[in-house]
Point group: C2
Chain length 341, copies 2
DNA sequence: CTGAAAGCGCTTACAG
DNA sequence: CTGAAAGCGCTTACAG
């Protein structure tokens, strides 16, 4: 079956293709009567503009790119992506844009993806997620002149971005911990090259300083269940008394952490209170149900797409701000009690 | 900065653009000497062909589509997608194709996505994942003339597809159960509209029939952790004795199922052996570690992309067969013991 | 307001 | 083997 093109619509409506184009794209310069006629012709023929013609002539790909790391475990259990992508789609869809998803094995490969996405003009812009300290992608997109928006960057970030406040939520959790009598609060930190790992640690450190509390142990962990298990082993092998509470930079690792502590005879939260960050579903189900901070991946994705579309349109949008992440009160905080000897 | 086009390369090499096109696409009709000269010119100018020109002129989008359901919980914790998408990418990448990912809220929306993907010529083909009984997408892609490949369909599927045998793995698990003395084996079934739910149940039923065993209770459950919890409640509310073992169609629900059973005082595997299907990471960590069947989402994705590319090329590829899913022996099977009264 | 024409950057017959 | 030309399906100045 032959594809119906703009030429067919023009013929059917008895006008020039330029008028069809203007009418269908809500551009001015077409009388209401003509517009109606064109709309109807398009409708009758079942015309849908070909993206290929549009793309070549309009100098736009009508697509944006997202490159995610292939690290299987992260991708497997990270609850962020589903909602994040859903939010992106939600926004994109109305604009006739699509999401091109790529997965990369390494950071170098990552850069190569962006480079090619730009070189072959596959997308009009990209979303920069999981920013790292001095993220090389920032310089790259600047060099390429590729529109980009960052997710939750540190202050001073040179590109358009969207931000969701995480500080108030974490502070609420830490406040609940001190209110429950905790004085030694440790931190299960995420990989140090991610800005969000650092950001979360910074809030913890700042809170303790303000309250004249000495920071408890800091243990590095991958953002995975296994990472949490390893962290528990590390904590238990540390000399001296255990902290009475831990703030984990990530729920998934918090769950592994708790499971391993329990396996080794440390009661959570009786012996050790634990709070996480992310608000994943699974935290609702495990014992004890995990107190955490819930972020809005969907909203963040939505806003990222919105901002990016504006950048692609040639605007310089203000950073988008999504409502702050909120505490999720569940069962993993208990009153501090005397430390184990 | 001005984009370098095929015209620039032709000029720089002192040839016609048609020769450049032929040379760069490894088409015959260019002498080795000319080809060399063109390659070098392209290299020197940093030329990368624009997909927009290629797409319009070559009548191809150089992209394939995947539409996934937006159901947050599934998307959140389903380990399948990450690996599956990784596998697709792996294959696509070499061919210069990209993955366009869309998320849909409802089955109707789903069809609309495919329809538009085809109408605006955004993609050259699609992957049909999570097939349902009488899946309406099959008729749709046939009607649209949209190349498509199905994942693990039932016999008689009219489109190209890729299949991973699940039967042998499930039978191994069930065999281990009977070898451990289990005679009453129930089934935690997935949503009945999915063909893979039915397939798994069918294997279970067939195995029992062959061994002259009366099927234990069948409980329907969503493919989620919560679904497993609900299923445990249902099982415990059933009149009569408990089965001594359950085969779950899905690991995530198996984990919820086990957790809830334990919460209610049923020891797993001592009182009740449980096996799952999927082989997700998380099953490695929870107590008891979940015995399951591991599928190869990555391989399946890889083969699906390969087959689809062939269909797009105009071929009629044989169904792809990925090596069978294999049992993962862990700790959730114990010898059958006298049932609780 | 309306339409004829050029042009986006390629591929593909088709002459030479 | 090589090159000039048409054409893919649109958008966008530019005349009328």
């Amino acid at each position: 079956m032959k594809r119906v093109t703009i030429v067919d619509v023009a013929k059917h409506a008895g006008v020039a293709i330029s008028s069809v184009s203007s009418a269908l794209n809500d551009r001015p310069g077409v009388s209401e009567a003509t517009r109606q006629r064109i709309m109807q012709a398009a409708q009758e023929l079942g015309y849908v503009a070909s993206l290929r013609g549009k793309a070549l002539s309009g100098r736009k790909a009508y697509a944006i790119g997202l490159v995610v790391h292939r690290d299987p475990e992260v991708f497997e259990l990270d609850p962020f992506f589903g909602a994040f992508i859903g939010g992106i789609e939600e926004m994109l869809d109305r604009s006739g844009f699509a999401l091109v998803l790529q997965s990369s094995a390494t950071p170098e490969d990552d850069l190569e993806r962006y480079r090619r996405l730009s070189a072959d003009r596959r997308v009009d812009g990209v979303i920069l997620n999981e920013l790292t300290i001095d993220d090389p992608r920032v310089a790259l997109v600047q060099e390429l002149g590729l529109p980009a928006v960052g997710i939750n960057p540190d202050p001073g970030f040179p590109l358009p971005h969207v931000r969701q406040d995480h500080e108030s939520g974490i502070r609420d959790l830490l406040g609940a911990l001190t209110a429950a009598g905790h004085r030694t609060i440790g931190h299960l930190a995420g990989p140090g090259d991610y800005v969000h790992s650092r950001q979360r640690e910074r809030v913890w450190r700042g809170f303790l300083a303000e309250h004249d509390l000495t920071p408890g142990p800091v243990i590095d962990a991958a953002f995975t269940y296994e990472g949490g298990i390893a962290a528990a082993e590390t904590l238990l092998s540390l000399p001296g008394a255990l902290p009475t509470a831990m703030f984990c930079a990530n729920d998934l690792s918090a769950l592994g952490f708790i499971a391993e502590l329990q396996r080794r005879g440390v009661e959570v939260p009786a012996d050790l209170s634990v709070v996480g960050f992310d608000g994943i579903q699974l935290g609702e189900f495990v014992p004890p149900r995990l107190t955490s901070v819930r972020t809005s991946a969907r909203r963040v994705g939505h806003e990222a797409a919105r901002i990016l579309l504006e950048v692609i349109d040639g605007d310089s949008p203000e950073p988008a701000v999504v409502e702050a992440a909120t505490p999720v009160w569940r069962d993993s905080i208990a009153p501090a009690r005397a430390r184990r000897p």
